[in-house]
């Protein structure tokens, strides 16, 4: 926005408001605030007079203290910040950075660690179970081989006892057709 007489009026009003709040007297008027040396840069000097005490200026330290108290109100009236609205020789107090009660990184770290530990436990347990199964299988096979003292007859990898010969089909082609065979 452009700086014009209305903005100057607002500034005078804000300073008057600040002085009223600070000194708690209701005597400061807008007419008590005087601006001079306004430049294009929009920089100027200003003084606050005290009408009750014969047109003397209020000491600078008082004005400084008052403005420091209400800095944020003045800033927001002009939609500016400490950086863009500068009062020379009034340094702004720094606000400490926000620190949450538990540092955030600890929380994230806890989550990551839990996931990893769960993964490790799962893999180790799965490995142990697999090993137990393999051991059981190999002992079973050993027991089986021990029991059968007669070597198990195997046809194509299947023990003959498992083959149920009765359920097989009799192939008609090879049915005993005695005429085919030459008689001895």
């Amino acid at each position: 926005y452009a700086w014009d007489a209305n903005e100057e009026y607002l500034f005078k009003a804000m300073v008057a408001f600040t002085m009223r709040k600070y000194s708690r007297k209701n005597t400061t008027q807008i007419s008590n605030v005087l601006l001079c040396n306004v430049t294009d840069r929009v920089s100027f000097w200003f003084v606050v007079t005290d009408s009750s005490k014969n047109v003397t200026t209020v000491p600078g330290s008082e004005v400084e203290a008052a403005i420091r108290m209400n800095r944020d109100r003045i800033n927001s009236a002009f939609l500016l910040s400490d950086k863009t609205l500068q009062f020379l020789e009034i340094t702004s107090t720094l606000s400490p950075p926000v620190e949450p009660s538990t540092p955030v990184w600890l929380i994230v770290f806890g989550v990551v660690l839990c996931i990893i530990v769960a993964g490790i436990v799962f893999l180790v347990v799965a490995g142990i179970q697999q090993r137990k199964k393999k051991n059981k299988e190999s002992t079973e096979r050993e027991n089986l081989e021990e029991k059968g003292e007669v070597p198990v007859a195997v046809e194509n990898g299947i023990p003959c006892e498992a083959l149920d010969l009765k359920t097989g089909h009799i192939n008609g082609v090879f049915a005993a057709d005695d005429e085919r065979f030459t008689s001895l």
Binding site: D40, R41, W105, I120, L123, G127, R131, N156
Partner: protein
């Protein structure tokens, strides 16, 4: 009666689930942090696009032949590095042991770098990012002094992360937050390598592919940032004059060599799990080309972001000057813009030179900002984090960036751990009944305990030492003996027959020439040049000392003699195993040759072992 079918000889060796897993593991091992933070730096300081010429020449004559050699060796012999070299010739067994020692040393410190990445990652979830603002000092009157003098990013890295001591001799204390992160990193490594390649093979799908996704995202975002084109132009503008400097050729050769992770024994371990009839020649060329392409691909987003950072720094410098000029001369707002800044300054300088001089304006030069080249941890943790603060949505970018760095480093760690794990499994030291989970657990636990010394205040100085001495010179020595061993001890004729049997094609003339003459010669030249350059000046380091007059510049200090002796020890220790083992076997043979019952061992051949 049925004839039992012929069963192929099973040696119970674990194998890859599919070929893609194997290729991805090799690529993941080769593509590491160096592709992101060393290659772009080298490109920048050695004349941009012109650096690609020595780089590709080195790739052709050094990288690809050595890679093919290692992959073929592992595949044929089906053993880890120690077993493989023992099989080729007992006198060369030392080469395998040296590889194993280097893998151990590198695993120790590499995971600590990942610890730093993890620390930054878990801090990226905070709003605002902790490295963007300075904390207040004790009495809340101003900002912390160390942070104020340097930048918040520097402060977070040197103080909040490393808590660095001003000197390498001052050890400082163990940093508990780094210990926690280190434990987490080793737990992750254990989780992924718990059963050897059965588990890394699954993890590699994520850790090898994810970085490419993030790089693409950064590429797209980086190219939209202002100033990106300046950065890219700066990176790629070729300056052919730099090729006259031999340092450029040396850097290209060493970069190719270390980038492909040769001579660690990890590649031999990976290819030993392959089926015998596998085309290792194609694999080697594929892995090498993908690695180089990744380096190039990664340098684009890195330099876009660096260009963006330089431009923002330049604009900030200009803006600060403009504000002081406007305040001084009481000019209206927005009368001086960045575009007409020089015009205004010249005008004002001619009319009011004393006032301008009194303002003490800083000289703002974009070239100067672009020239601030950094590599290594400085690039990732200082420069890049600063650039990320300036981007909108900085948390997301920070998180993505650090996960990418973590995946890149983790996939390289897999190769390192395999290089340690596989030979241990084959040596008779561990009994067959001990489960793999226990062995990998013990390796990870011991490494974690030793790596605790890198979490001391002086830890990052020690990591630089390990990186410069244990992770550089011994590898050149090992690679040289690898090529000589295969070409002249095992004999190229035998090896080419083995490779022909494995791939089904006769060996090209290119391989014959490079394996017999060019690669060994090149390695010898690089080794000599490397040693000469190291000896020329006393080894020094840059220390972060807040009490230094030139702070925030780093203080150049010289290593004390006991540290230098440790450096020499690290560089020499792996290499010394080569002559030691050869000597040991020589003595054994001389004793045995007096024994009449001694039968010389039979000659080994790829086909013979598994027919």
């Amino acid at each position: 009666l049925s004839v039992p079918p012929e069963t192929p000889k099973e040696d119970g060796r674990p194998k890859w689930d599919n070929k893609f897993q194997y290729i991805l593991s090799c690529i993941g091992f080769a593509v590491g942090l160096g592709n992101v933070w060393r290659f772009p730096y080298l490109c920048q300081i050695h004349g941009g696009g012109a650096f690609l010429i020595p780089y590709f020449i080195a790739l052709l004559f050094e990288g690809i032949p050595l890679l093919h050699l290692e992959l073929a060796l592992g595949q044929c012999l089906r053993k880890g590095s120690i077993g493989a070299w023992n099989t080729i010739s007992p006198y060369l067994g030392g080469v395998g042991v040296a590889s194993w020692v280097v893998s151990v040393l590198v695993s120790l410190y590499y995971n600590t770098v990942l610890t730093w990445v993890m620390w930054y990652f878990i801090n990226s979830f905070q709003e605002p990012l902790p490295w963007s603002v300075c904390p207040l000092n004790e009495n809340r009157t101003g900002l912390n002094e160390e942070c104020y003098e340097s930048t918040p990013v520097n402060y977070f890295w040197y103080r909040k992360t490393l808590n660095i001591t001003p000197d390498v001799t001052e050890s400082g204390t163990l940093q508990w937050w780094l210990i926690l992160c280190l434990a987490t990193c080793w737990a992750i490594v254990y989780l992924c390598t718990i059963r050897g390649i059965e588990t890394t093979g699954k993890a590699i799908y994520v850790t090898a592919i994810f970085p490419y996704l993030v790089l693409t995202t950064f590429l797209i975002h980086g190219l939209t940032l202002p100033g990106a084109t300046d950065g890219l132009a700066y990176l790629f503008t070729p300056n052919l004059n730099t090729l006259k400097n031999p340092r450029v050729w040396l850097d290209a050769a060493t970069q190719i060599f270390f980038s492909l992770s040769l001579a660690f024994g990890g590649l031999i371990a990976f290819s030993s799990y392959n089926p015998l009839k596998n085309d290792c020649e194609k694999d080697a060329v594929t892995v090498a080309i993908v690695n180089s392409m990744t380096s190039l691909y990664a340098s684009i987003p890195v330099f876009s972001v660096l260009g963006f950072k330089a431009t923002t720094g330049y604009w900030d410098c200009l803006d600060r000057n403009i504000i002081s000029v406007i305040n001084e001369f009481d000019l209206p707002e927005e009368s001086i813009m960045r575009e007409n800044y020089t015009v205004w300054i010249n005008f004002l300088n001619s009319s009011y030179p004393e006032k301008i001089a009194g303002l003490k304006l800083k000289r703002c030069d974009l070239q100067e900002f672009l020239d601030q080249s950094v590599s290594g941890t400085g690039l990732a943790f200082i420069v890049f984090t600063q650039a990320i603060i300036l981007m909108p949505g900085s948390q997301a970018w920070a998180i993505l960036f650090f996960i990418m760095l973590f995946s890149l480093g983790l996939s390289s760690m897999f190769g390192n751990i395999e290089g340690v794990f596989t030979p241990l499994l084959e040596l008779q030291i561990v009994s067959k009944s001990m489960p793999k989970e226990l062995i990998s657990g013990i390796i990870c636990l011991i490494s974690f305990l030793i790596a605790l010394c890198f979490t001391l205040g002086s830890g990052s100085y020690w990591i630089d030492i390990f990186d410069s001495y244990a992770g550089s010179l011994p590898l050149l020595v090992i690679a040289f003996f690898e090529v000589i061993g295969v070409a002249y001890v095992y004999k190229i004729k035998r090896f080419s027959k083995d490779v022909k049997w494995m791939t089904g094609r006769k060996l090209n003339l290119y391989w014959h020439i490079t394996w017999r003459f060019i690669s060994p010669l090149l390695l010898l030249i690089v080794f000599v040049a490397f040693v000469v350059l190291q000896i020329q000046k006393p080894p020094s380091y840059a220390a972060w000392n807040p009490k230094y007059e030139g702070f925030p510049m780093k203080e150049e200090k010289v290593y004390p003699p006991w540290v230098v002796s440790i450096c020499v020890l690290l560089a020499v220790l792996p290499g010394v195993f080569i002559p030691l083992v050869a000597l040991f076997h020589l003595i054994k043979r001389m004793r045995r040759s007096k024994d009449p019952r001694f039968v010389p061992p039979e000659v080994f051949s790829c086909q013979g072992a598994n027919s």
